[in-house]
């Protein structure tokens, strides 16, 4: 049964975790993202879906691309967007997180886009304020809009992801992108693979609905797409891997390595990239294979879709009150 055959609207007042979504919700977001993607490619990108609503981007962790992506998405939908970043925030003056968000909520924003280093922060803020929250990354837990935009980008090129073999390679252990990504790809029926050195894989990763590999060449076999995750330098200092050259030798994506994958296999990276660590520069720049810039473009469209769905609901809830 498709959504057209019965009446179903996006029901969620917040987006904290991919587990909140069912396949129909994802369908709706993909449909709207596709719409916004085409709008964004025209000279008149402005819409008024969120006109009159106030969106606060509450980033307690430094971010350039995600914050910009959410700000542009909100502005294109007509919302009033305010950026609140940790460096200038009152939490750096000793205020508790709870007091900060209560203060901001007294200003009656309609949407909060939250990034915080603590796992569960987005849910905490949403529960504490009752405001519609979009999780833009909470610790190592989740980054749902990244998962959505990645899957959407792939869908644009491959069609439905059901049965497609998709590999995520890199620091799975510390990655909120991977945690959200695996869940979403499972919802979409993809065949998910994970590959990393043992130190960067959670012990129970094989129970996530993914096949686990330590050898990248084995993992790449027959893959339709592969996503390299960013390897943070502090992981080396913390002793998870010995050196970046060893990491690149065994886990770096290169054209040569990609030969074991499907001949037209695609490459993704959530950014920011370390060229020559998790991905070879030449592969990242290969327009035939690399979707890295497509991901960034799709990111704005997908965030417009998410903000629109949640903002519309927030507006109608307020009207009802």
């Amino acid at each position: 049964m498709t959504r057209a055959e019965f009446n179903y609207d996006f029901p969620h007042q917040r987006l904290v975790s991919i587990t909140d979504l069912n396949p129909l919700d994802v369908d709706i977001l993909f449909e709207r993202a596709e719409h916004w993607l085409s709008v964004c490619r025209t000279p008149s990108k402005k819409a008024d879906a969120l006109r009159g609503l106030t969106q606060i981007n509450l980033f307690f962790e430094p971010s350039t691309r995600t914050q910009a992506s959410f700000a542009i998405a909100g502005k294109r939908l007509g919302a009033d967007v305010v950026n609140f970043s940790a460096a200038s925030s009152s939490t750096s003056k000793g205020e508790t997180l709870l007091d900060t968000v209560r203060t901001l909520s007294a200003m009656n924003p309609d949407l909060l886009v939250v990034r915080h280093k603590a796992c569960g922060a987005a849910k905490f803020i949403s529960d504490a304020t009752g405001i519609a929250v979009v999780n833009a990354g909470d610790g190592m837990n989740e980054h749902p809009t990244q998962a959505l935009l990645d899957a959407f980008t792939l869908t644009q090129r491959l069609g439905p992801l059901g049965g497609r073999r998709i590999l995520i390679v890199g620091d799975i252990l510390h990655s909120r992108v991977a945690r959200s990504g695996v869940q979403l790809l499972n919802i979409l029926g993809a065949q998910v693979r994970l590959c990393a050195p043992s130190t960067l894989l959670p012990l129970d990763a094989d129970r996530w609905g993914a096949d686990v590999f330590h050898d990248l060449d084995d993992a790449l076999e027959g893959c339709d797409a592969v996503m390299a995750l960013r390897l943070q330098r502090e992981r080396m200092a913390a002793g998870y891997i010995p050196s970046s050259r060893e990491y690149f030798r065994f886990y770096g994506l290169t054209h040569q390595r990609m030969e074991t994958a499907h001949p037209e296999a695609l490459v993704l990276h959530p950014g920011p990239m370390n060229r020559g660590v998790e991905i070879d520069g030449a592969l990242a720049d290969d327009e035939e294979r690399s979707l890295i810039l497509d991901q960034v473009e799709a990111g704005v469209a997908m965030r417009m879709a998410v903000l629109e769905a949640i903002g519309t609901l927030a507006r109608s809830n307020e009207a009802r009150r």
């Binding site: 043992s198 130190t199 030798r249």
Partner: protein, 433 residues
């Protein structure tokens, strides 16, 4: 050596199969092709065998020895052990496969170092392998490039004599190495409990006022490492078990089905702390000599198969580090040339039978690390030693092929000597000349 030869009238002793019988053996192109009672000179003559026939005159024909732990000194050390002197000593000791393992003087902790060493191995008559340093400078803090070293050919990685104090480092090390199917060899010691110890806590050590560690140090270390190996799926070698407590902990870990290998050093199987009572520098080794009950437990662990390999723990040291009081002397002893003699001493004393004694220097280490040699069977590489099991001799470091003199077995009477050593079908040592 011709491409085809036979050794006849031998006592074939093969721990891998349990074979101990009179017979002969045929080698073609470096590989054993046939062996057993049926291989006799008369038959070969009838068959028109055109290769050389070597008469063993009833001597033992066993697999060449495999020694998983020997050290070499840094190049250009004045008077130091060189690859040449080490290989000469090892082959005179019946060793056909020798692993150079890291220590504080030679951490072997980068793929570049390993590759440079390997480039010098090729013309040598015996099989040389390297174990890589598990952490940088063996400091137990930062993991070395285990993947690249494994790719360059490290047979396993080792932490040398050093403990890893940080449990998270140890966890990551075992976890990471498991991804490359690489064994991590750890001496069962504790960073703080054993710090500065030069002896084992005992009445003897107490009377002499030696800084000593309790033998439960080994138990603690083995329990800890085994628990982490279980958690991570890591492949662990307990490198030089030396106490009863250590054997008990090892047996406990094995019962849990863990893939844990273990070695023991020949000195701990044949000497005890009373041997060190003269406080001579040559008796100073790491781990320190233990009590007699520990030695007996080790012998039993060899008999039961709990310990996979016996190592020489060959460690050449400059004279200046040995012309010192016991407490100040550098620990370590040369050992490749005395390994077999000391081992056969356990056989002559009826503590082990010949097969039990030879297993941990042949098929034991070979099976642990997946080596093809270390056995007498058709299809195996012709790595073999002809041994006169009874020949009496006295070990003097001055007569040794090794360049160093720090020998824990100095002046020891042995019975059993290598007559000929073959590696890959080539005779690489003979006592004739």
């Amino acid at each position: 050596m011709s491409e085809r030869f036979a050794i006849l009238n031998a006592r074939l002793v093969d721990p891998a199969s349990g074979r101990d019988e009179a017979g002969g053996l045929i080698v073609e192109h470096g590989v054993i092709t046939e062996l057993g009672q049926a291989v006799k000179g008369s038959r070969l003559v009838d068959d028109g065998f055109d290769g050389e026939m070597i008469d063993a005159r009833g001597a033992i024909l066993a697999p060449a020895l495999i020694d998983l732990r020997a050290a070499i000194e840094p190049a250009w050390t004045p008077g130091g052990e060189t690859l040449d002197s080490l290989v000469a000593a090892a082959s005179a000791g019946g060793i056909g496969t020798l692993v150079l393992a890291p220590n504080d003087a030679m951490a072997l902790d980068t793929p570049e170092t390993l590759r440079a060493f390997k480039s010098e191995f090729r013309p040598r008559p015996i099989r040389l392998h390297l174990a890589g340093g598990a952490t940088r400078d063996l400091a137990g803090e930062t993991m070395a490039e285990i993947g690249l070293m494994t790719e360059v050919g490290a047979l396993y990685v080792s932490q040398g004599d050093n403990a890893i104090a940080d449990t998270r480092v140890l966890r990551n090390l075992l976890s990471y190495a498991s991804g490359f199917e690489t064994f991590v060899a750890l001496r069962p010691c504790d960073a703080t409990l054993g710090a500065g110890a030069i002896a084992t806590e005992s009445e003897w050590a107490a009377r002499l006022g030696l800084a000593a560690e309790p033998s439960i140090t080994e138990r603690l270390a083995i329990d800890r490492a085994a628990a982490l190996a279980e958690l991570t799926g890591g492949k662990l070698i307990i490198d030089r078990v030396s106490t009863d407590e250590g054997c008990t902990a090892l047996a406990r870990a094995r019962r849990r089905g863990l893939e844990i290998g273990a070695t023991a050093a020949i000195a701990h199987l044949t000497l005890n702390d009373v041997d060190a009572a003269d406080l001579s520098a040559s008796k100073r080794i790491t781990p320190p000599l233990r009590g007699e009950e520990d030695r007996l437990a080790l012998v039993e662990a060899i008999r039961s198969g709990l310990i996979d390999a016996i190592v020489s723990d060959h460690r050449p040291l400059p004279d200046a580090t040995q012309d010192q009081p016991f407490g100040d002397a550098a620990p370590g002893s040369i050992g490749v040339e005395s390994l077999l003699g000391a081992l056969l001493g356990l056989v002559h004393d009826s503590q082990l039978d010949l097969i039990e004694a030879l297993r941990p220097v042949t098929s034991g280490p070979a099976d642990l690390l997946g080596l093809k040699q270390g056995r007498l069977e058709a299809g195996a590489p012709a790595d073999m030693a002809i041994i006169d099991g009874d020949a009496p001799w006295v070990f003097h470091a001055a007569d040794s092929h090794s360049n160093r003199r720090n020998a824990i077995f100095e002046g020891r009477r042995f019975q059993g000597q290598v007559l000929k050593l073959f590696v890959n079908g080539a005779m690489v040592f003979t006592s004739d000349n």
